[in-house]
């Protein structure tokens, strides 16, 4: 029975299987360019996107640390070229010179597998040589996400079109004007596990101080002043101060455009290892450890002498439309981990790159954006917003609208250094609270299953006033005497010693279906419990359970309380 015809059937089956296999191209997105090695054993992908384009095979997972450890005796020579001075270019051989994908692929194939093969022949520990061992990928079942896309039948959903791109970008026959057609197959297989991110290098004031000591104050070994700058300084008649040195690349003599850090740091460390038998780290994970020291730990570390004024006015020399901003440089230095926290890696002054209209040096980010962008940790407003999230501030600030729009400009743009030089403090609560308000306030308006809350009002206000007065940042911006009061009594303006409207004025006790104002119960809880949650996440002092604030009544007591009213 197993005859020619059945054999044909089986061959046909196999043919279809092969066709299917060929058709199943790997749809991996080409992403990041060649990177170094892996933190904590996680490999990086080699998928040089602009040259390789869409990949035909899975990207190669390259583990740099494995190689540095295996080739410890040989050092960096096997893979990295050096220039005449013996400094290494930390790119892989001559990949930067290859302009087409085949040549690039050949470099990798010839060198990598060549080295692996020759080491195998020498009987040494070596890596893979077959295609699939390098171009391997774990096919996890749940790696794929898919969204089915169909021509739209429900044209009544007009509002969704404006919030959903796919409504316009559809198959050519139904494309809206000026919207491009989008291949609906590209909606399949969009999700892949993200690559491991390199943790940043910990280079804070302490590390800097260690380098300064080891290199005996020779800034020029790491930092750079351009000839132009030297000219400018000569014209000003000033010697180069700390802040003139930048961490930048001299484009004419740089060893590598992309990795000044690797070129300078690792080469120097290697040199000192051979010369002085004491060098810095060379393995990836030793620098890219991801560990950060806290500001408290760095409190006693000497700051680099940058020659900047302690307090200064930030202003535009020409064309300023707002008053200058008073800036306390000294306190910012004390409250940061490194100059790079604000000055980027380049250590330049803000206005060097960030112009009013945006410059390509600053990737188009304008001066205003650089100072005001809420989501950036380097901008003034962004950092201050982040500070407001700290436990001692978040209690009040979590319910206040965030961002610049509600703060107004005059808080910072004062035009004078006066308030910086003589900071104000909030007065003690006794000066603000009306006489007839006791130290402890009983909140029992909606007493029901639980008893009334005894709020230690005076104590709370004293605590909050102390927090504000202890913080230079808070003190600077809390200019209104009633600031702490407005944290809870949130609709101003308020006067000292005057009565405030009760919460129940706007927050009604009964439910109003459809109103956006929380009910009294909701607003008490959001305000009080919300504050406690933010200020004391560990629940050590501030009560966050029901009975922590009000005792639970036995079922019969409710009637009693009602009867007593």
């Amino acid at each position: 029975m197993i005859n020619r015809s059945t054999a044909c059937g089986i061959i046909g089956c196999l043919a279809i299987a092969c066709l299917a296999a060929l058709g199943c191209k790997d749809r991996s997105d080409s992403n990041a360019s060649v990177q170094g090695a892996s933190p904590a054993g996680q490999a990086r992908f080699i998928t040089i996107s602009d040259v390789f384009g869409e990949l035909e095979r899975p990207p190669v997972r390259f583990d740099h640390d494995k190689h540095t450890l295996a080739l410890e005796k040989e050092g960096c020579q096997p893979c990295h070229r050096a220039d005449d001075q013996g400094n290494f270019l930390f790119t892989y051989l001559n990949v930067e010179e290859q302009s087409d994908s085949t040549a690039l692929m050949n470099v990798f194939h010839d060198e990598c597998t060549g080295c692996h093969t020759s080491r195998a022949q020498e009987g040494k520990e070596t890596g893979p040589v077959t295609c699939g061992e390098c171009h391997a990928i774990e096919r996890a079942y749940d790696e794929h996400e898919y969204v089915p896309v169909m021509p739209d039948y429900y044209e009544v959903l007009r509002d969704t079109y404006h919030s959903d791109c796919t409504a316009c970008h559809r198959e050519p026959s139904k494309t809206a004007k000026d919207a491009g057609a989008l291949d609906w197959k590209s909606f399949y297989v969009t999700h892949k596990k993200t690559e491991a991110e390199w943790p940043g290098v910990t280079f804070d004031y302490l590390t800097h101080a260690e380098h300064v000591e080891a290199l005996e104050d020779q800034c020029g070994l790491c930092h750079y002043i351009s000839p132009q700058k030297l000219e400018e300084l000569k014209a000003e008649g000033r010697e180069p101060a700390g802040r003139d040195w930048v961490w930048d690349v001299d484009r004419k003599t740089s060893l590598t455009r992309r990795r000044p850090a690797h070129a300078r740091c690792i080469n120097c460390h290697l040199q000192r290892r051979t010369e002085a038998d004491e060098g810095g780290p060379v393995h990836c994970g030793e620098c890219h450890s991801g560990a950060t020291r806290t500001i408290e730990e760095l409190a006693d570390v000497a700051r680099p002498d940058c020659g900047q004024d302690d307090m200064m006015l930030i202003q535009l020399d020409q064309g300023a439309r707002a008053k200058a901003v008073a800036f306390n440089h000294q306190s910012h230095v004390a409250n940061s981990r490194s100059c790079q926290d604000c000055h980027h890696k380049t250590l330049r002054a803000c206005q060097d790159c960030h112009t009013v209209d945006g410059d390509e040096k600053a990737h188009g980010i304008t001066l205003a954006e650089a100072h005001h962008e809420v989501s950036s940790s380097r901008s003034c407003v962004g950092c201050h917003e982040a500070e407001k999230h700290k436990a001692e501030c978040a209690g009040c600030h979590q319910l206040m609208p965030g961002g610049l729009v509600h703060a107004g400009c005059s808080g910072c743009h004062t035009g004078t250094l006066d308030r910086l030089q003589t900071p104000g403090k909030l007065p003690p609560p006794e000066e603000l609270i009306p006489e007839d308000v006791g130290d402890e306030i009983l909140i029992g308006r909606i007493e029901d299953a639980y008893g009334p809350v005894r709020l230690p009002h005076l104590h709370k206000v004293q605590e909050l006033t102390e927090i504000s007065n202890n913080s230079a940042l808070a003190s600077y911006f809390h200019t209104d005497r009633m600031t702490v009061c407005t944290g809870c009594h949130h609709l101003g303006p308020m006067e000292a010693k005057a009565d405030v409207p009760s919460c129940a004025t706007c927050h009604t006790a009964r439910d109003e279906p459809g109103s956006s104002t929380p009910t009294l119960l909701g607003s008490y809880h959001q305000r009080c419990l919300g504050c406690h949650q933010r200020m004391d996440p560990a629940e050590q002092e501030m009560p966050q359970s029901c009975t922590g604030c009000h005792e639970e009544k036995a079922p019969g007591d409710k009637c009693l309380a009602a009867a007593q009213e």
Partner: protein
């Protein structure tokens, strides 16, 4: 029609050892069915809130309907396309279909939570026209009626002129005889209406069974979900019609010591590649068009099932049916037909509960032993009733050795 193509009841002993085994399995199924009826679905099945549709829907309902497609495909072949050559297989196919659909209904009684409300969809005030299941239910109900109507002439043929009611009812013999003759006469004239209606209704509900799972695009694996599901179900059901007829003909022949009727089965098998080919083309075309082939090597249950039920159990029979040697060989036909029937069974099961991935399921659904037992019991019952009816009624072709 020549004399030796006339149908006649099978003259063989009914209670063979094989039948006793069958009865045993039936009783087992009945037992589990009763247990479900007394102690609820939870006690018998592994159905849960994440997997509402299980083996009983996948096999009893979906596969049952698919495999009963032999009825309408052979009817269409013989009565619409006038291929009288295949006359001998029409009645057995019709019986298979009738029993198949009847037991779809019976199986459904066990799966439904409120089985006593099964008549609800026929009441106009409870019609819900947007529901796919509504259309499936209505078409199946109507088609079952059509099948019974198509079956009446066989009963008439058996009992016309031979009505012999027992005891007191014997007075009604003549009346019954008149009714049978009238039915036979009338139906003879108008049967074509029902036959064509049967084909149309079949096409409608076979495809709508596929449309059922179109409503779950986020839960059905992309290898299986497609707006083309109705067409896929329809073409695969049409394609499995002849293999079912072939298999059932061979099994019946085996049971009754008859040689397989190769002069009918071989040309029947010759049409299978075309029908199978359409199904394969639609499936592969759909995968290419929607780009879902990227999941083929995923290793997920859905992708593995696709390789098995489509790659192995559909494409291989396709090539087998194309081979003249296979078509002429009883064993070849048997293997090819069985493979594709298994393929359809696995396909329905995959669509309903294997490639079905609910968002919060902690473990996959594996049918419970009671579910298997009831399903197998129902299949055994179908075989039992089939045997009983072919012994009683003129369904299978008359056989000289038995005459």
């Amino acid at each position: 029609m020549s004399a030796d193509e006339r149908a006649a009841p099978v003259a063989k002993r009914f209670f063979t050892p094989g039948m006793m085994v069958l009865i045993g399995i039936m009783l087992g199924g009945v037992g589990w069915g009763l247990y479900r009826m007394i102690f609820s679905l939870a006690s018998v099945t592994h159905l849960n809130d994440q997997y509402p549709m299980g083996l009983w829907i996948g096999v009893d309902v979906a596969t049952g309907v698919a495999l009963a497609a032999g009825g309408f495909t052979t009817s269409a072949l013989v009565y619409v396309l006038r291929r009288e050559h295949f006359h001998a297989v029409v009645r057995p196919a019709l019986l298979t279909a009738m029993l198949g659909y009847t037991f779809v209904g019976i199986g459904l009684l066990f799966d439904l939570g409120r089985w006593y409300n099964i008549w609800h969809p026929s009441m106009p005030w409870m019609w819900q026209g947007n529901s796919v299941l509504f259309e499936v239910g209505m078409c199946v109900m109507l088609y079952l009626t059509v099948l019974y109507i198509e079956f009446v002439p066989i009963v008439c043929e058996r009992f016309m002129g031979r009505v012999n009611l027992p005891g007191k009812l014997a007075r009604l013999n003549d009346l019954v005889d008149i009714v049978l003759r009238l039915a036979d006469h009338v139906l003879g004239k108008v049967m074509f209406i029902f036959i064509i209606a049967g084909v149309v209704l079949s096409c409608l509900h076979q495809s709508s069974l596929g449309t059922l799972m179109v409503i779950a695009p986020y839960k059905l694996h992309p290898l299986y979900w497609s707006p083309m599901l109705p067409l896929l179900f329809l073409t695969s059901a049409v394609a499995v019609g002849f293999p079912v007829v072939i298999l059932e003909s061979m099994l019946a022949g085996r049971a009754f010591d008859r040689k397989p009727e190769m002069r009918v089965l071989t040309p029947l098998a010759g049409m299978a590649p075309y029908l199978l080919g359409i199904y394969i083309a639609v499936k592969i075309g759909d995968m290419l068009y929607r780009g879902s082939y990227v999941f083929l090597f995923e290793g997920s249950p859905a992708s593995v099932m696709l390789w098995i039920e489509f790659g192995l159990l559909t494409i291989v029979p396709f090539f087998m049916f194309m081979s003249r040697d296979v078509r002429r060989s009883p064993l070849g036909l048997f293997i090819a037909a069985t493979m594709y029937i298994l393929g359809v069974l696995l396909n329905r099961c995959t669509v309903f509960f294997i490639a079905y991935r609910p968002p919060y399921a902690e473990r996959a659904y594996v049918p419970a032993i009671g579910e298997f037992a009831l399903t197998i019991g129902l299949v055994a019952t179908i075989v039992f009733v089939y045997r009983a009816l072919v012994t009683l009624l003129p369904v299978l072709p008359a056989h000289e050795s038995e005459a």
